[in-house]
């Protein structure tokens, strides 16, 4: 696993850099983020159960063409940075019965993420 850098440092390193023209990565490993709570039509790769939930960036995977655009026969460019985001299971499922430390990780495109609001 790539080392987890402190947020706000240099641009994070992608595990799988691609040659696509892409948007700059806004988030760094360790940073807290919230998944947008939205319900657009079309081919969306953000599972329902994480929408509106908060987690932490685990790694930057790379930048990939936006699948919502690809599904409409468009280029999907500029490519969207793709992250793995780690969630606590008990925050995803209020009735979760496993250990409180159990986690779940999902790949989420940058345009679905926003910095977690302060307390």
């Amino acid at each position: 696993m790539p080392p987890v850098a402190a947020p706000g440092g240099a641009a994070p390193r992608a595990q799988y850099p691609t040659g696509h023209p892409s948007l700059a990565a806004r988030f760094a490993p360790g940073q807290r983020v919230r998944v947008r709570k939205a319900a657009p039509l079309g081919h969306v790769r953000t599972p329902w159960y994480v929408r509106g939930c908060s987690g932490a960036i685990e790694r930057l995977c790379g930048a990939f063409p936006n699948p919502e655009e690809l599904a409409q026969q468009r280029s999907g460019l500029p490519a969207q940075p793709l992250y793995r985001v780690r969630f606590l299971q008990r925050e995803l499922w209020p009735d979760y019965r496993g250990r409180p430390e159990d986690t779940l990780e999902v790949e989420i495109f940058q345009h679905w993420l926003e910095p977690e609001a302060g307390p």
Partner: protein, 200 residues
């Protein structure tokens, strides 16, 4: 008719079978693809088997440097062993005494096909996909895999461009084993994370 001849049972084609045949025939008729190309692609898919993934795991068990490279960049580590993995971006997640990993694709059936072959039916079932994300311990127990309460579980939902492989822990009592012998312990289910490699 010969006594006991098995003529099978007549079953009409399902909706999806009909769609597949119609689409395939249309594509061939219009010259988009050839029957040969389709046949080759299917043969290619069938030829890939979990032994490819097991090879990576066994090497990681015997070679700590390889293990590190596998975790750092799974795709490059496949190529290092001479495995062709076109378009695969592999994320390898490692089981430890404190952490157990399990893979799912809740949106469809994303799976590291170039390493594990065609996914099993259950991996694509609504039952597995909807339940393993919210009650992983119960689902694993149904596979006969009981994860102690002291071990954290991490579910990986494979939703976009990465594909996942679990690096299981090497079973005790396998010291000095050859890579081939070790690889034989590593089943498909171990690399999805619903089973653990067992010796003997």
């Amino acid at each position: 008719m010969a006594q006991g001849a098995d003529l099978g049972e007549y079953r009409p084609l399902t909706y999806f079978q009909l769609m597949e045949i119609s689409l395939r025939e249309l594509l061939v008729e219009k010259g988009v693809v050839s029957e040969q190309a389709i046949g080759d692609a299917v043969a290619d898919m069938r030829a890939r088997a979990p032994e490819r993934g097991a090879k990576l795991v066994a090497r990681a068990w015997v070679d700590p440097g390889y293990r590190e490279r596998l975790l750092e960049n799974g795709t490059r580590a496949c190529e290092e062993l001479g495995l062709e993995v076109p378009a695969l971006r592999l994320v390898v997640v490692e089981n430890t005494p404190a952490l157990h990993n399990v893979i799912v694709c809740t949106l469809c059936s994303c799976y590291p096909r170039t390493l594990l072959g065609i996914p099993p039916e259950w991996y694509k079932s609504r039952n597995y996909r909807s339940r393993v994300v919210r009650e992983p311990r119960a689902v694993l127990a149904e596979f006969g895999t009981r994860i102690p309460e002291s071990v954290q579980i991490r579910v990986h939902d494979s939703t976009a461009d990465m594909r996942y492989l679990v690096l299981p822990m090497r079973p005790a009592g396998t010291g000095g084993w050859s890579e081939e012998r070790l690889a034989a312990l590593v089943t498909r289910d171990c690399m999805i994370g619903v089973a653990l490699p067992r010796q003997g």
